[in-house]
């Protein structure tokens, strides 16, 4: 028996996910967009770990979280490399200026 109910964790995760997605929609700085993605991934991880606490007979949620963290690391590395390459071409950080593929 744990004293803090599991629903509280889920509410915190949901609010964090909404904060991250609103930041992703609202901001235009590419670095802040990547950080918002990290926030959303963290919210999903918290949900997975909380449900794993409800069903503790195996570690499915925690193993899933482990892989999400690994993929988040890869995503951050490649995303920041793309941001650097974009900056080298356009000399700006605004995501609206990322229209190199527009004819």
């Amino acid at each position: 028996m744990i004293s803090v109910p599991i629903e509280y964790y889920l509410v915190v995760a949901a609010v964090l996910f909404v904060i991250g997605s609103i930041g992703f929609l609202l901001r235009r700085n590419l670095l802040v967009l990547l950080m918002s993605i990290e926030l959303m991934l963290n919210a999903v991880n918290l949900t997975l770990v909380a449900y794993n606490r409800v069903h503790p007979h195996d570690h499915a949620g925690q193993i899933f979280t482990f892989f999400v963290i690994a993929i988040a690391a890869a995503e951050a590395a490649v995303g920041l490399a793309i941001v650097l390459a974009f900056y080298r071409i356009r000399k700006t950080m605004r995501s609206d200026d990322a229209d190199l593929l527009r004819s």
Binding site: G20, R88, M93
Partner: protein
């Protein structure tokens, strides 16, 4: 004991939410990265309460130790130009989209809260092995061995790709016409330079770039 658990939970979730808000709202990306760090530390505290000790350690090591530091390196490499200037173009659709999402999520939360039964479900005590390195590693190397190896391959490919993308094209100074230094050389004199005059007229590498 119960009041301590609630106090710890409140502190950790406060760190998580305030850090998230700071990440999203900060104009300076360095402050945003610090907000992300705060949020990550708070989530590690919540993992500890959910008896996921190994994941809490991994969270601190990988997120705070690697990802946030990578963000900080890139922000400091870009210098002042990491902060984009404020302008009002395309502000309306962004604010409308964010407002619609925020309103609908508040509505969804209210619906869930009104539909849920009063009284919270009692969670039984976790088995002693939940979240330890031994138990998690045992499952990871038996049931999850294929995705584990695949994620190793993914990380290798991501590292190679990040290096290949971020390195950029180096201009060999011996190949340039006489009298032209790397200052005037454009790495790709072509359609991009024509479409965006001046955008490519800088230097080929970030390291050779003059301060802004």
């Amino acid at each position: 004991m119960k009041i301590f658990e609630f106090a710890f939970f409140g502190l950790a979730s406060l760190l998580v939410l305030l850090g998230g808000l700071a990440t999203v709202a900060a104009r300076n990306p360095i402050r945003g990265a610090m907000g992300l760090l705060t949020s990550i530390v708070g989530i590690a505290g919540l993992y500890l309460m959910l008896s996921a000790e190994f994941l809490a350690a991994i969270q601190i090591l990988v997120y705070a130790g690697a990802i946030v530091i990578l963000f900080l390196f890139v922000i400091m490499l870009l210098g002042p130009s990491a902060t984009s200037p404020r302008d009002a173009r395309t502000a309306v659709p962004r604010y409308v989209g964010a407002g619609v999402l925020g309103a609908s999520s508040i509505g969804a939360l209210a619906l869930v809260a009104s539909a849920s039964k009063p009284g919270v479900t009692a969670i039984p005590a976790a088995p002693e092995s939940l979240g330890t390195i031994e138990a998690l590693g045992h499952e990871l190397f038996t049931k999850g061995i294929v995705p584990f190896e695949l994620s190793g391959a993914l990380l290798l490919v991501a590292v190679i790709g990040a290096v290949a993308v971020a390195r950029g094209k180096q201009v060999d100074p011996t190949l340039l016409p006489a009298g032209e230094g790397p200052d005037t050389a454009s790495p790709e004199p072509g359609d991009q330079g024509a479409a965006q005059p001046g955008a490519l007229a800088g230097h080929a590498t970030l390291s050779a770039k003059e301060p802004h």
